[in-house]
């Protein structure tokens, strides 16, 4: 017997296990299914549901497979009469007080209790006494509660304690009176909170906005990718007759594991927002008029063709395909004014930008760092899934430090905050020195530049100082980036072309004769220059390709072209670790909206550009990929010059985009806007 192998037998078959593994991990690995409710591979073992009782030779009683470590020579029987009898006994107990209201329960059809009751339950209950009824709780706009259905597995409780780090649900009372609740009545309030919907094995905690709107078996499950941050969490959209009814996580251990930020789960509501632009519109003599697509496209093409100066601006969440077509269009139009960096305010030193903004390591490798320094980031808002990885690193013993004007709240032990001044001052002063020492001593260290730093008026100085620290200490340098596809758009060349190209700020300030906005809301998304709405409104002609209509767009634009949201188009995002993730359209377009890549393709035809005869978005992607080639992920390496401070270094001048204001979708997702966090952002809730 080798030290790192334990030989056991499962149902008569020899199996090799690792020391310390629980029996259920081994039975899962070889596909000998053991029923369970409380066990979850991402959570601590509770062993309270007693559903996974199995028979182990020599044990006087049935043993929970989830809590029994393997021992050499152990013989496990998952389906012996004693094991089955114990599992059936537990099922009978679980069902006596369960309301069995499957026909009116949203969990029906995808319920762990319902499924296992088919295998382990009786056809008729022997219980003929009164059932327990539990009052429902209002725990916020995201998660509905039907606590009578609760089977007390405590997965939701352990999620709060172990994954969020912010315990919000707990058990009170004893015996059959035990209830899961928030103790003091309050909303659950964490950027990952709604994962308890997926964890709940019954219909006790469910998706509130989705409530009673579809049945699980009616919907089609389609894979897609989250469009709100640089992580690119993997999703499934559940679609009923072309309409997205809900979003659930698609497990990907390398990216989002099995979790999903609430933002990614509930932003789909905005697809069906009343703000959707249903049809193309044109402004004539200050009056808006609905027009058809043909007229609209011809108007846009005419303007673009005729204008002497053209500027093209894309959202950092535009797809690779959209970006590639935009770049090709710019090339044809002979303009170099092209950019997606609409949040950036300091473009000096942009010639030293790396090929794409890169995390500096893989997402999963964040957990392996010994020392992490996060500069200018409210990372729980900027990339909730990365914040979770940071927390895991901290729990594993890493020193996590934040250099930030403001101290944000984290639910783990933050080793140090360097705060209270502008970022340039913090990075060049004495306060940073202890952090630098820690970096020097670490084997695996990461310096991460966040989005607050990215929007800083002296960003290039911040970046240069951060790069200097990384270089001096041997730490890796990484950066977060705005939107879902800053990396992909950089690679696709949605940047001012070398030479005379204007960056986002200069472009708007220069007032070109024609401007094309791709999914940009100039009032909320555009930080590169001040008063963008007014400046655009002054311009001769602004074409806005947008899923949404807003007062700002009505003021700034002259032609509105309705495009699909992430759900209504195929496309590709490249996340911050450089992973290309393509997805198909999952939902029918709303109104007359069309996928933006198709709109751009037709515009290309109409301005007589060559080679705009793509049939599918895959054709566009293939061309783009061939053009990009193999790009090595590299961090910013410094300009070789001492950092120059080009803008003011005032904390008050830093822009922190709140969690639920990050893009047009999120801003219009009604349930998200009713969360405690959103109301706090809006100043309606304290603290």
């Amino acid at each position: 017997m080798s030290d790192d192998i334990v030989n056991i037998e499962v149902d008569g078959k020899p199996v090799e296990a690792r020391p310390g593994q629980m029996v259920i991990e081994v039975t899962d690995k070889i596909g000998a299914y053991v029923p369970r409710f409380c066990y979850h591979e991402k959570l601590s073992v509770a062993a309270n549901c007693r559903m996974c009782l199995v028979d182990i030779e020599g044990a006087p009683k049935p043993i929970p497979a989830c809590a029994q470590p393997v021992n050499e020579g152990m013989k496990v029987f998952t389906k012996s009469p004693r094991a089955i009898a114990a599992q059936k006994a537990t099922m009978e107990f679980l069902l006596i007080n369960h309301p069995l209201d499957c026909p009116i329960c949203d969990q029906g059809g995808e319920c762990e209790l319902q499924d296992l009751a088919m295998g382990y339950g009786r056809d008729v209950s022997r219980y003929n006494d009164g059932k327990r009824v539990v009052k429902d709780k209002d725990i916020g706009p995201l998660v509905s509660t039907d606590m009578t259905r609760c089977i007390h597995c405590t997965r939701c409780v352990r999620f709060g304690e172990e994954i969020q780090g912010k315990p919000q649900l707990g058990t009170t009372l004893r015996g059959e009176n035990v209830v899961i609740s928030t103790y003091v009545e309050q909303n659950i309030d964490h950027e990952l909170s709604a994962n308890i919907i997926d964890l709940c094995p019954v219909g006790a905690l469910n998706n509130k906005p989705y409530r009673y709107s579809a049945r699980a078996w009616e919907m089609v499950q389609r894979a897609t990718v989250a469009p709100h941050d640089c992580v690119g969490s993997n999703l499934y959209a559940h679609v009923l007759r072309g309409t997205v009814k809900r979003i659930v996580p698609r497990s990907n251990e390398a990216i989002n594991e099995s979790w999903l930020a609430d933002r990614d789960r509930f932003s789909y509501e905005a697809i069906y927002s009343a703000d959707r632009l249903a049809q193309p519109r044109i402004k004539e003599s200050g009056e808006w008029r609905d027009i058809d697509w043909e007229e609209a496209l011809e108007a846009a093409a005419a303007v673009l063709k005729d204008a002497d100066t053209v500027g093209l601006l894309a959202s950092p969440s535009a797809t690779v395909e959209e970006g590639h077509l935009l770049a090709r269009l710019a090339q044809h139009l002979g303009t170099s004014n092209l950019d997606h960096r609409i949040e950036r305010r300091d473009f000096s030193d942009q010639e030293n930008d790396p090929a794409f903004p890169w995390l500096g390591c893989s997402i999963a490798d964040i957990e392996k760092q010994d020392v992490i320094v996060v500069i200018g980031s409210h990372i729980r808002q900027e990339a909730p899934i990365l914040a979770h990885r940071l927390r895991k690193a901290a729990l594993a013993g890493a020193s996590v430090n934040f250099v930030s004007s403001e101290e944000h709240e984290y639910f783990f032990d933050v080793d140090s905050y360097v705060s209270g001044a502008g970022l340039v001052q913090l990075l060049s002063g004495d306060a940073i020195k202890p952090v630098v020492e820690k970096l020097k001593e670490a084997q695996n260290a990461l310096v991460l530049i966040g989005n607050i730093a990215g929007r800083h008026r002296a960003f290039s100085a911040v970046r240069s100082l951060a790069a200097d620290i990384a270089a001096r200490t041997g730490a890796k340098l990484g950066t977060l980036s705005p939107g879902a596809n800053s990396a992909g758009l950089s690679l696709a060349g949605v940047l001012p072309q070398k030479g005379d190209g204007l960056h986002a700020a200069a472009m708007v300030d220069s007032a070109p004769e024609a401007t094309l906005l791709l999914n940009v809301e100039p009032d909320a998304d555009f930080h590169a220059t001040d008063d963008a709405v007014a400046k655009l409104a002054e311009q001769e002609f602004v074409v806005a390709m947008t899923p949404f209509i807003s007062d700002a767009l009505l003021e700034a634009a002259d032609l509105l072209l309705p495009i699909g949201t992430f759900a209504e188009t195929s496309g590709t995002y490249v996340n911050v670790e450089g992973t290309w993730q393509s997805f198909s359209g999952v939902a029918n377009p709303v109104g007359e909206a069309r996928p933006a890549w198709k709109v751009l393709r037709v515009l290309g035809n109409l301005v007589d550009a060559d080679g705009f005869d793509y049939v599918t978005s895959e054709d566009v992607l293939a061309e783009c990929k061939a053009q990009v080639g193999d790009v090595e992920a590299r961090a910013y390496e410094g300009s070789g010059q001492p950092a120059k401070v080009n803008g003011e270094d005032k904390p008050a001048d830093e822009i922190d985009v709140p969690l639920y204001s990050v893009d047009g979708l999120v801003r219009r997702a009604t349930a998200l806007q009713r969360t405690t966090e959103a109301r706090r952002e809006a100043g309606e809730e304290k603290g």
Binding site: L53, A67, A89, L94, N97, H152, R174
Partner: protein, 435 residues
């Protein structure tokens, strides 16, 4: 032969102010501890002595105390803990309370010795919430006296031995008498048993090696060390050394707490010590060790001696020594319902079978008593109890199941009668017939 009482834990009883250090010292108190402080006994020698004494855990399970102590890791650098379980909550049991009220120093000295033997420098005494009034202050006063006398603290009397003792008062939950629930409660969490393994000897209080012993077990240690293992072992029969404290309640002439040698015949306990069944009635049944022990019909227990082996062979267990005596007028269905209500109320609610099953049992019994029972319910009662037993994290599930199983085994006719007669009790029928 007169049976000698109050030999070990109750040895100060009857003396004026029996709870004071002065009285305790008149009864050879702290002599053993002072020998240890003088360097006369190694930890290993203490453990061997306790092993040889045959002392078994008095909390109910009867695990050999010395053996339990030897499970504590020896070459462990970090903190180790001793925890005394004074969460005396088993229905019918009230003798630990008497130790705390009348002889707390035996516990304080026992804790010091036990902690020393296991290399623990901190010991907690977890007392049930209901002890707030008198037992808790008495214990606290005794600890203070011991500190003031220089018998506790850091480097006690220059011996190099550190021992700090703290009293802790719970909030009154039966489940906190389960050792891992007690640890959770002591840590400030909900009192819910942990699953084992890991056992407390490896992962106990605050994750550190911890031994949990019953009050009476620990309070017996000073006498064992002072008078010797052989003396203690000889007090009881083979396999049940020493004395036990019996809390005798129910239908007897003289209920009370009695410290008696292990192995005393039940007949002697009932008739000679407790004055027999009250009102001249006949004995029907006895629960010998607290409500979770299996009930024994009169004819069975009258042949037993009160020790671990005898009661186990007769189909029950010694438990906590809480002897509940029931005379011929007792309705066994009503008794069982009362017991089942207790376990329903005290289940922590963590494991499915206990959380759901205890209430089911209670409701079935209630229905039977209300005259709405069916014969099928009797089989169902046993079946539900069987499905709880052995399926839970802690022994509370078993404790809820055993009474049901044993009451129906021995007194099935009473249940059957009630079901067939719309809730009328067999004893009511008998007294009506007599009248």
């Amino acid at each position: 032969m007169a049976i000698e009482q109050n030999l070990v834990c109750f040895n100060t009883f009857g003396s004026p102010e029996s709870w004071t250090m002065a009285t305790y010292e008149q009864h050879d108190g702290y002599k053993a501890w002072r020998r240890i402080l003088a360097g006369e006994l190694s930890p290993g020698e203490v453990i061997e002595e306790v092993k040889a004494s045959g002392l078994r855990g008095r909390g109910g399970a009867g695990f050999p105390t010395g053996l339990k102590w030897s499970f504590m890791p020896k070459n462990y650098d970090g903190q180790k803990y001793l925890v005394v379980n004074s969460d005396e909550s088993e229905p019918g049991t009230c003798h630990d309370r008497e130790i705390l009220r009348y002889n707390p120093h035996s516990l304080v000295e026992g804790m010091a010795i036990a902690a020393y033997a296991m290399g623990a420098t901190v010991a907690y005494n977890y007392m049930r919430g209901e002890f707030m009034d008198e037992p808790f202050p008495r214990f606290e006063a005794a600890v203070k006296e011991a500190y003031d006398a220089g018998l506790l603290g850091k480097n006690v009397q220059g011996s190099g031995i550190d021992i700090d003792i703290h009293g802790f008062i719970g909030a009154g939950a039966y489940i906190c008498g389960e050792e891992t629930a007690l640890i959770e409660s002591l840590e400030g969490k909900q009192g819910r048993p942990r699953f084992k393994p890991p056992f407390p000897a490896n992962f106990g209080l605050y994750g550190k090696p911890t031994t949990i012993n019953n009050t009476q077990s620990i309070a017996s240690v000073p006498s064992i060390m002072h008078k010797g293992a052989a003396w203690f072992a000889a007090l009881g029969p083979e396999g049940s050394g020493g004395t036990a404290q019996f809390s005798v309640s129910g239908h007897v002439e003289k209920p009370g707490n009695y410290e008696l040698p292990m192995g005393i015949p039940f007949k002697t306990l009932l008739e000679d010590i407790c004055g027999g069944v009250w009102k001249g009635r006949r004995l029907k049944a006895v629960i010998p060790g607290g409500s979770s022990c299996k009930v024994m019909p009169a004819e069975v227990i009258m042949e037993c001696t009160m020790d671990y082996n005898s009661l186990q062979q007769a189909g029950s267990s010694f438990g906590t020594g809480a002897v509940m005596v029931m005379d011929e007028t007792t309705c066994m269905v009503s008794v069982l319902r009362r017991i089942s209500r207790f376990y329903m109320a005290e289940s922590c609610g963590q494991c499915t079978p206990c959380r759901e099953g205890t209430g089911w049992l209670y409701r079935m019994l209630t229905r039977i008593i209300e005259g709405k029972g069916e014969e099928a319910d009797l089989e169902k009662l046993v079946d539900v109890a069987n499905k709880i037993e052995g399926h839970t994290i802690c022994a509370l599930g078993d404790a809820a199941a055993w009474p049901v199983q044993s009451f129906l085994k021995h007194f099935y006719d009473e249940f059957e009668y009630m079901v067939r007669n719309n809730g009328r009790s067999i004893v009511e029928a008998a007294s009506d017939a007599a009248a």
